[in-house]
């Protein structure tokens, strides 16, 4: 398209990806992705920006109250958000803790996406007893409240962060599988699928290339919203001592330690919880926004 006078005559024709423009016009998408980008950057450069060594203990500063950014007119780097039960800097630990939370969110969601998409796609496409078997299996997983099943799995496999991620992933599979399945069921009947099949295309390629490529939007929405759920689940497991283990820093663990001194040092529990809330808020805003942009059908669910 040349830069012809027509471009002046029709000013509404802007350059750029129309989808991207649609996304950028959605307030929720912008707010959510701003929050998440900020946290991702913090997590990525975390070790270089912590104001103090997050592992250094200082017996004299146990439960030190937050000192803020300015102390006596000078910029302060020490215990900006106070210290925990071993005199470690809360802000530095929050920054490093962001890594565990986001990692668990991404890894658990990726695993559940992998299994959920494959199981849902096969279930919807193949149908019959395969569909029945897979969906009944999903029903069994859904028959337990998610956090309860996650706790039971971690209890069985042993309490550590890897098992916690596995457990969270397993719990999240059925929801994704169901969404993918219903989409595959709908798309399977469309004419272009008939056409590809009539051309003699391999069934596996029909499913994974042609059908799934048209079913990604609702899955993306569910996965984004699921990130928040996964992060809260990790915090809950770590809070119960079933997730991250010392010396690993996790927001959930910080909460459980802070609980011991909730009377004298409420700041130790305040900030990690606030951090979790902000992450979850970011992902749910983004998820809601994506749903509005991509998929009107999902709005009621």
């Amino acid at each position: 398209m040349a830069e012809a006078p027509t471009a002046v005559a029709f000013p509404e024709r802007r350059r750029g990806n129309p989808m991207l423009r649609k996304l950028l016009r959605n307030k929720n998408v912008v707010a959510g992705s701003t929050i998440i980008s900020f946290l991702l950057i913090v997590a990525a450069i975390g070790p270089w920006i912590t104001p103090m060594d997050p592992y250094r203990q200082d017996i004299w500063e146990r439960y030190a109250a937050p000192r803020g950014l300015i102390v006596e007119g000078q910029l302060n780097a020490q215990f900006i958000l106070g210290a925990d039960e071993l005199g470690r800097d809360v802000l530095s630990r929050l920054i490093i803790g962001a890594r565990v939370s986001l990692m668990v969110g991404f890894v658990a969601t990726s695993i559940s996406l992998l299994f959920g998409v494959v199981l849902g796609a096969v279930s919807g496409y193949v149908g019959g007893w395969v569909d029945n078997l897979i969906m009944r299996l999903m029903d069994v997983i859904l028959a337990l409240p998610g956090i309860l099943l996650a706790i039971a799995i971690v209890a069985a496999l042993g309490p550590n962060i890897v098992n916690a991620m596995m457990a969270i992933a397993v719990v999240r599979i059925p929801q994704i599988a169901r969404v993918v399945r219903s989409d595959v069921l709908a798309i399977r009947e469309e004419e272009f699928v008939e056409a590809v099949k009539a051309l003699g295309q391999n069934q596996v390629i029909v499913l994974f290339k042609h059908i799934l490529m048209n079913a990604w939007a609702p899955t993306l929405v569910i996965a984004t919203l699921g990130m928040g759920t996964a992060i809260v689940a990790e915090a809950a497991l770590s809070f119960l001592g079933l997730g991250a283990q010392p010396p690993q820093i996790s927001w959930g663990r910080m909460l459980s330690v802070g609980r011991e001194a909730i009377r004298s040092a409420p700041h130790v529990t305040l900030y990690p919880g606030l951090a979790i809330t902000v992450v979850v808020l970011g992902f749910s805003l983004l998820g809601d926004g994506l749903r509005d942009v991509f998929d009107r059908r999902l709005q009621d669910s």
Partner: protein, 327 residues
């Protein structure tokens, strides 16, 4: 309708059967010999063998499962390794506390969420609306156990009549005292213990209900029949409460139903925070003590309650909304 109920019951039984296998396998996948852990380092092999025989741990897994499920169907969930008490007794003592907590959470969530949502919709785009929508946004995102910790540190530790944990008299006892002896103090005692944990557990649902009530009511207020009612000269509030709200609440009811089951799961962590003697705390304690029969039995019982709650919720839709018919 009857046919639908029967079909649901059959599939419910099948799913619970699957759950029982899952729970059993999970517990038996666990590394570490529970008997050895229980007896400690100095235990002799003879003692270990004897206890293994006593609990049936020396049998092959399928035999152990069949024995367990057969007993479970007769109400026997085995013996707690740690407390030497029947698991069924431990669970049934604590289940009412868990259900009670979930009910209170739901009551608070509905009691606050619906009026707040209505207020937001009626006073649209005022600071009341913006404030409650912001609160609802944060409320959905905040982990319930953190809300609990904040309530503990900001309220329970400063307000004399709010206990920092534990459970008062049960709701049933409180009602009996109120009705037979006109004694309201027992009920008060019950409420002050339940208040904070229920509030913490109910926050996210409260927030969800507020948002849904607002959006649903706004949608209904735009419909023709509402305009007709206004045109007849009815007062604003009569239109909202008499005409619009009833229809606006249908989606809210659906969400409340779906969420109630999840309150049972969410209560696990809340029970730990507030030392609430429910099934959740029983499970968490049993896990740390490697008391497998208790973990097995209580997870199974929670699944049973969860399943029946979900079934009841589904069935109640048709009562609330005559447009839904089950074939």
């Amino acid at each position: 309708m009857l046919q639908y109920v029967l079909r649901r019951l059959v599939s419910l039984v099948a799913i619970l059967f699957g759950v029982s296998i899952l729970v059993f396998l999970l517990v038996h996948l666990a590394p570490g010999d529970p008997v050895r852990i229980m007896l400690g380092e100095e235990a002799t092999q003879i003692d270990i063998d004897r206890l293994n025989r006593l609990y049936g741990f020396d049998q092959p897994l399928p035999v152990q499962y069949l024995r367990w499920i057969n007993n479970a169907l007769q109400g026997d969930l085995g013996l707690s390794i740690r407390q030497q008490l029947p698991v069924a007794q431990l669970v049934s003592e604590r289940m009412p506390a868990t259900i009670e907590l979930a009910m209170w959470s739901l009551a608070i969530a509905i009691g606050v969420g619906i009026p707040l949502g209505v207020l937001s919709a009626v006073r649209r785009n005022t600071w009341i609306d913006l404030g409650s929508m912001f609160a609802a946004l944060v409320g959905v995102a905040a982990p319930n156990f953190w809300v609990g910790l904040i309530l503990l540190s900001q309220l329970a530790l400063h307000v004399a009549w709010l206990p920092i944990g534990g459970r008062g008299p049960s709701f049933g006892d409180a009602m009996v005292a109120l009705v037979t002896r006109f004694d309201g103090l027992v009920l008060w005692d019950h409420v002050r213990y339940a208040l904070l944990p229920a509030l913490a557990l109910g926050t996210s649902i409260m927030a969800l209900i507020t948002r849904l009530t607002r959006s649903s009511l706004l949608e209904v207020l735009g419909r023709d029949y509402v305009r007709t009612a206004r045109a007849k000269g009815l007062k604003g509030l009569t239109v909202v409460y008499g005409h619009a709200l009833k229809n606006a609440l249908l989606p809210v009811v659906t969400v409340v139903g779906v969420q109630f089951g999840y309150l049972l799961g969410g209560s696990i962590v809340i029970e730990v925070v507030f030392s609430w003697p429910g099934v959740g705390r029983l499970i968490v304690n049993a896990i740390s003590q490697r008391d497998f029969p208790v973990v097995q039995g209580s997870v199974l019982m929670l699944a049973v309650v969860f399943a029946f709650v979900n079934l009841l919720v589904d069935l109640s839709y048709s009562l609330l909304n005559p447009r839904i018919r089950y074939g």
